[in-house]
């Protein structure tokens, strides 16, 4: 549906850790290609050379050869020792211990969306994660229901988000851009549509975005919006969703304070357009089967008013 802005691949590293892992990958591919080609080469040679001929006598019954057996163990042992060294080295560089640093962002996995909050600010958003490029940031990863997993292939390591536990991940993104990933631990019906979208910005733009999003929502004073705002409170939307600056302070579904400023909805699966929003609210289960949001059977005009209101939340 969306062409990712960046090619999604572990061979397209876009972060410091991504590059470290990429180099390790390359070493490993070289070593393992060598072994695979050796096995295939030997097999073909043996198959051609030692094919049975009619009336062959029984071949020489060689039972073992101490030197070859020693080499067979010795060489692979040296190879894995080398990779063990690289493993330890890369692990230590990629995952330094966190000494009570304040994380830049806390990402909380839920069935089936991501709650994103920025400690030290009042910013809470969902699914689209804004981060500064070219700066080392610390991600705090948690989960509220079942196990989810953070994975943006271009950034290198993935990390599980486990209910009841807290995990951290360091990240230094090379340059601004939009990066895609997906939840990588099976988490139920909509696991497939739990995409991750990271929007990396320059330090300046990032700060601007933070300031914008720290603001509370505009109060609906325009007559075209008042109806929608009222439905939002009455039709129990407010029980689950938060719109900062209004009475809506639910914490079950995504924060909608600046919903209209997002590019996508439903964990990066559809574009954020009024049509898609309308279709979703009209029958959530149809467009996202299994979703926890119930169907409210609103009248068409109420629904339109609601969507108009939500789309005014820039």
């Amino acid at each position: 549906m969306f062409k990712p802005v960046m090619d999604i691949s572990i061979f397209n590293p876009q972060s410091e850790s991504g590059w470290r892992l990429y180099h390790l990958d390359i070493y490993f591919i070289i070593a393992s290609s060598f072994i695979l080609l050796l096995v295939i080469g030997l097999l073909i040679y043996i198959a051609l050379k030692f094919r049975a001929k009619p009336n062959d006598a029984e071949p020489k019954q060689i039972k073992n050869n101490k030197l070859i057996e020693a080499l067979m163990i010795g060489i692979p042992f040296i190879m894995v020792s080398f990779f063990f060294y690289l493993t330890i080295k890369t692990m230590k560089e990629t995952e330094p211990i966190t000494h009570n640093e304040t994380p830049t962002v806390e990402i909380n996995g839920r069935q089936w969306w991501w709650q994103v909050s920025y400690p030290g600010t009042s910013v809470v958003t969902a699914n689209e994660i804004h981060l500064p490029a070219n700066k080392k940031v610390l991600l705090k990863l948690t989960a509220s229901d079942v196990i989810h997993d953070w994975w943006v292939p271009s950034f290198g390591p993935k990390m599980d988000m486990i209910p009841g536990l807290v995990n951290y991940l360091w990240l230094k993104i090379d340059k601004p851009g939009i990066y895609e990933g997906a939840c990588s631990e099976f988490c139920g019906k909509q696991h497939s549509k739990m995409r991750i979208r990271v929007i990396a910005q320059t330090q300046e733009n990032y700060q601007k975005w933070l300031t914008e999003n720290a603001k509370t929502a505009n109060i609906a004073i325009d007559s075209s919006l008042i109806k929608g705002a009222a439905i939002f409170q009455k039709a129990s939307c407010a029980g689950c969703h938060q719109i900062r600056g209004t009475m809506a302070n639910g914490n079950v579904g995504p924060d909608l304070t600046h919903l209209a400023s997002r590019q996508t909805i439903l964990s990066g699966t559809v574009k954020n357009t009024t049509e898609n929003l309308y279709r979703f609210i009209d029958n959530p289960n149809k467009i996202k089967p299994g979703v926890n949001m119930p169907r409210f059977f609103l009248q068409q005009d109420s629904l339109k008013a609601l969507v108009t209101y939500l789309h005014s939340l820039k």
């Binding site: 549906m1 990712p4 999604i8 691949s9 572990i10 892992l21 990958d25 490993f28 393992s32 072994i35 695979l36 096995v39 030997l42 097999l43 043996i46 198959a47 030692f50 094919r51 049975a52 001929k53 071949p59 020489k60 019954q61 060689i62 039972k63 073992n64 050869n65 067979m72 692979p76 894995v80 493993t87 330890i88 890369t90 692990m91 230590k92 990629t94 229901d145 079942v146 196990i147 997993d149 994975w151 292939p153 993935k158 599980d160 486990i162 209910p163 536990l165 997906a182 990588s184 631990e185 099976f186 988490c187 139920g188 019906k189 909509q190 696991h191 497939s192 549509k193 995409r195 299994g290």
Partner: protein, 552 residues
């Protein structure tokens, strides 16, 4: 001919009291290890069909992006059942089938030590499998994956009774598997032919002996985990539920401390089969008998110390990871080096490219691919990238199919003449071989790339990202080729049974004792046994006969 006594259970064999006209009643009531072995293989085929249909439905759903052929609920049940079925109800019975059939024949015994327990183990396993499938009728099959992580396996997230059936079904299957393993251990230790010291045991029997110990030691953590989960779901205990003080990670530790040995449980018997097959079709003894056996024991011991490599993305800390990275790389050495033992066995031999031998040779390549991608997962940072992606799906199928199943296929084509008394047409066998090899590689090789391109596993659909569509389509076509090849296999087996050429006792000029008796063997395997001089007892006998004729 000089003979030695035939070891057999002291009570007369119960099976002989019923008529042995091979009627249905006799099959059901049998305690004869050969008939039970065949029943195990038939059970494996039955569940292979079910698990195979699930796999095909999965591949149809994934053939195009944003597909709605299956609902997410149905997809999740199908991939869970596919994995559970293939591991517990296809591979395991196939292995047990060959084990209970051929272990007594290869050590010169007339039956397993406990014939009635052998039958009990089979039927309780089958019952467990059927109970698992009954869940489809009881409101929904298990839907949290074959390793069934907490807390997704809790009632709050999986309301149907599927996971309860998963627990009970697998507990019953486990009782059967452990029962048979104890039976095999006792048989191998107490009922070997006189003179067959452990150093003269055929490699297949050695691997089954090691494997049986592995099963007996690995299943308790699984059974504990299943019981705890059942308590969680039925009696609201709190083992795995973090909101009431439990830990979802405990499930992972328990499951994988069974689950990783299980991977070796499924591959060691194939190592045994291949060792026999390479010897016979190369007309040479195994290269490095002590090494093969010793590394089998090393694998069995190390298998219990590597389980956390399934959990490298859990966040357990670098100290834990360093230990398990080291142990996982270490176990790769004895496993990988066997490939060179088999190449060494072929070296300088007189190779006969039968279908069985082709499967054994293809195994060397497929298993090397699966083994190398396995070592990639021991390298923690690579694991961080690729775990839970389609790369894992590719890897595990290269190990389970390219490794275990290719080995079992080599065994099937090697032993079919013994079990049925009929030869398989080599021409048809080779058609099957090539169709299967091409289908298998077409299905799974491309999935490595899908994983590298960021496709997570266990997704019921995927967005139309560059490359995803054609790669998934290719994989689906490969899947259909594989299924086609299985249909061909069943046809071949059926046809050979009906009109195949009679096999005779020893069609391959083989080395071990099962080939000294008629094909198929009589209910009472042996009335006399040759003296045992080495792990190739039958070859020694044939050589001595030849020398006596020419020499004196």
């Amino acid at each position: 001919m000089e003979t030695v006594n035939v070891p057999e259970p002291e009570e007369s064999l119960p099976s002989t009291s019923i008529s042995n006209d091979q009627g249905l009643l006799q099959w059901i009531s049998t305690v004869d290890h050969k008939q039970i072995g065949i029943l195990y293989l038939l059970m494996s085929v039955l569940f292979l069909l079910l698990g195979g249909v699930a796999a095909l439905l999965i591949r149809v759903q994934l053939s195009v992006p944003n597909n709605n052929f299956l609902s997410p609920e149905m997809y999740n049940q199908l991939f869970t059942m596919h994995g559970t079925t293939m591991v517990f109800l296809v591979m395991t019975p196939a292995i047990l089938g060959f084990s209970v059939y051929f272990v007594p024949l290869m050590i010169g015994a007339n039956d397993l030590a406990f014939p009635r327990m052998n039958a009990f183990s089979l039927w309780i396993g089958l019952f467990g499998g059927m109970l698992l499938y009954f869940s489809f009728l009881a409101g929904g099959a298990p839907d949290a994956g074959w390793f069934n992580y907490a807390p997704l396996n809790q009632r709050a997230y999986s309301q149907s009774s599927g996971i309860d059936y998963y627990c009970i079904g697998l507990l019953l299957v486990g009782i059967g598997t452990v029962g048979t393993s104890i039976n095999l251990i006792v048989t191998i230790i107490y009922y070997r032919a006189k003179g067959m010291s452990l150093r003269k045991l055929p490699v297949f029997v050695w691997m089954i002996l090691i494997n049986s110990f592995l099963i007996v030691a690995a299943f308790p953590p699984l059974n504990a985990a299943l019981s705890m989960l059942l308590l969680d779901r039925q009696l609201q205990t709190h083992f795995f539920n973090n909101t009431s003080g439990g830990s979802p990670i405990v499930w992972q530790h328990l499951f994988w401390s069974f689950g990783h040995p299980e991977v070796y449980i499924l591959i060691l018997p194939s190592f045994g089969i291949l060792s026999e097959v390479f010897q016979v079709y190369s007309r040479k003894p195994i290269f490095g008998y002590s090494f093969i056996v010793g590394s089998g024991i090393a694998i069995a011991l190390l298998a219990f110390g590597v389980w956390v490599h399934h959990m490298f993305a859990v966040g357990l800390g670098l100290t834990v990871y360093s230990y398990f990275a080291a142990s996982s790389m270490l176990i790769g050495v004895p496993t990988g080096v066997k490939v060179f033992n088999w190449l060494g066995t072929m070296w300088g031999g007189s190779l006969r490219f039968t279908t069985s031998m082709l499967f054994a040779m293809a195994f060397l390549v497929e298993f090397t691919i699966g083994g190398l991608s396995g070592v990639a997962f021991a390298i923690v940072p690579i694991d961080w990238q690729l775990t839970d992606s389609y790369f894992v799906v590719a890897h595990l199928h290269y190990v389970f199919v390219g490794g275990s199943l290719f080995g079992l296929m080599a065994g099937l084509f090697y032993w079919y003449p013994k079990m049925s008394g009929k030869m398989i047409s080599e021409k048809l066998g080779k058609w099957f071989f090539w169709l299967f090899v091409i289908g298998f590689n077409m299905t799974f090789f491309i999935q490595h790339i899908l994983g590298i391109k960021g496709m997570p596993r266990r997704v019921y659909t995927y967005p139309d990202l560059p490359g995803y569509t054609w790669m998934n389509m290719l994989s689906t076509i490969g899947g259909f080729l594989m299924s086609l090849s299985f249909l061909l296999l069943f046809y071949i087996l059926h046809k050979s049974y009906k009109i195949g050429k009679p096999a005779g006792n020893d069609p391959w000029d083989a080395y071990t004792l099962e080939w000294t008796v008629s094909s198929p063997p009589k209910i009472r395997n042996f009335t006399e046994l040759p003296p045992i001089y080495s792990y190739r007892a039958f070859r020694d006998l044939k050589e001595n006969a030849k020398n006596n004729k020419h020499g004196k």
